[in-house]
Subunit: 317 residues, 2 copies
């Protein structure tokens, strides 16, 4: 019998959730904590919506829509249809089942429960094993600066379909938001085996977590190896606007540029096998490099990659 592991994953939405699912199959329930970005969270139609937490929750519960990677499988659309008739804002799709989560969460937040309490209670109801932890219980709003003005993240991402050209980002509320104390406690835990930065958007999924007061410092001081999995595969983002954002910010859409964002923190980096051109440069920037097929098209892929990453991280000490 091997000793229990203690793994911390930092993640955003769809890409991160896929690796988190793989990790959840490899690790015991108490061995994995998934800290999720909340910068995407927003108020819509009076409800608090937490897209990344929901994607991770649905993915780990096995009820995510397999075609989109977000929202629920076998969803119905009566609410949106009726809302449209009533003249409500319809740019953000809310499935009928999905809505139950937003209504329940908004109600509980109004009753004084914290986002992390609610997230934990919902995960329990959905029989999710690992702990899903919001990066903070305080609101943080990722703002996207574009050539045509500043947009709240979901307005940029969903309503404007990532079309405006990005010039920068900031995280509204970040100065007053405290990282969840269990995140800091885990980073200071001598028994922590590794920190895995999931293949998520570095600007809008990982940066909000790293920008919380004390998190970068805690990562730097953390005795466990820290590794990142590149969200770039074959010079493109698997999903979402990562590569487009990089180009607009005058950065090459490469793993090298992703790595540079975490360089001060990393002990290891997982490069996709389609990006071998970047290998030498990556090697010059980080102590340990692993090359893998990171595309995770099936559950088996996710498990295989998760296993490889845990092994790799163990050697990054």
């Amino acid at each position: 019998m091997t000793a229990a592991k203690k793994i911390l994953a930092l993640c955003g939405g769809v890409g991160g959730a896929k690796l988190a699912l793989g990790l959840s199959h490899i690790l015991g329930n108490d061995e994995l904590t998934i800290v999720v970005n909340t910068g995407d969270d927003f108020d819509h139609l009076g409800m608090r919506i937490c897209p990344d937490i929901d994607t991770v929750t649905y993915t780990l519960a096995g009820i995510v829509n397999p075609e989109t990677g977000w929202g629920r499988a076998d969803e119905t659309g009566s609410f949106m249809e009726a809302l449209d008739t009533l003249g409500g804002e319809d740019w953000f799709y809310l499935g009928d089942k999905d809505l139950a989560l937003h209504v329940a969460r908004t109600h509980r937040l109004g009753a004084g429960q914290s986002l992390s309490q609610i997230t934990e209670s919902i995960a329990k109801r959905l029989s999710i094993g690992p702990r899903i932890l919001p990066m903070s219980d305080d609101p943080v709003a990722t703002m996207v600066e574009t050539k045509t003005g500043t947009l709240a993240f979901q307005h940029y991402f969903v309503r404007e379909r990532c079309e405006p050209k990005v010039t920068g980002f900031y995280f509204d509320g970040i100065d007053n938001a405290k990282p969840h104390p269990d995140l800091l406690a885990l980073l200071a835990d001598q028994a922590l085996d590794s920190v895995i930065i999931c293949p998520s958007n570095p600007f809008v999924s990982i940066d909000p977590i790293l920008s919380l007061a004390g998190v970068r410092e805690a990562l730097r001081d953390c005795p466990a190896p820290i590794i990142a999995v590149s969200p770039i595969v074959g010079g493109k983002a698997v999903k979402g606007p990562t590569a487009k954002m990089m180009t607009e910010l005058d950065l090459a859409p490469t793993s090298v540029e992703v790595l540079k964002r975490y360089r001060d923190l990393l002990d290891g980096f997982v490069l996709d096998e389609r990006d071998l051109d970047d290998l030498e440069q990556i090697k010059s920037l980080v102590a340990h490099v692993d090359v893998r097929d990171t595309l995770m098209l099936t559950l088996d892929h996710k498990k295989t990659l998760a296993r490889a990453i845990i092994e790799f991280s163990a050697g990054c000490q």
Copy 2:
């Protein structure tokens, strides 16, 4: 060409909505104002739910569930199913389409719109002709006193299925609630042709309206005839707990007892043809009596009754 009429209907939920629908078919859009009880309104799962306004709205929009008389036709239940999984309160059924109205209204209330503004805007979106006016824009909560304690109306009505024995009622907030100014203006309007008290529950649908400061006085001073349609048919309530409440309050479940509640206001009373035993006593209590089949099983019934009631009220001057 006859002169335009000006009719005011006071109503609660299902029974009142049926007559309101009949009236809406007989009268022009500008000829009918339906003032609706809001004492049933309550906050549930963080949403503001207005059962009587919604029933009247759905009925007049032609989208009400014909089997229940409330909620929407062709409804789906994905939200409730998912809410149940998440452990949310599921005693009050919320269909997926119906939910759009609650979410939109709650959102708009939060943004500072009044209930009457929202009700009007939703009615317009649903192409409803007559005006649907909440009795007040201020919250009033009908409380049901029972032998086992005091219950908010929906808790009594839905959660407890009207089982606790009623000992009385009060309307929380009634002292601070102003009747909608357009209700008072209409009652003072010399051109008003008649006030019709719909066949609704006298205790929990009509009494809240009458208990608003100044409404009884305005009705007494109103130059137009005031008539009431009995909600009792054959010694029973067509739907809902009216007769059960009367029995528990030591009142006979008869039209006579309903009439007595409005006696100081009424010029006329419409008795169901199944309750002819009450006719003599009714005649001794009110100036004008009309006997009709009030059951309104079809749209034709509703229209026929509405037409008869308008004619009857014209003769109650």
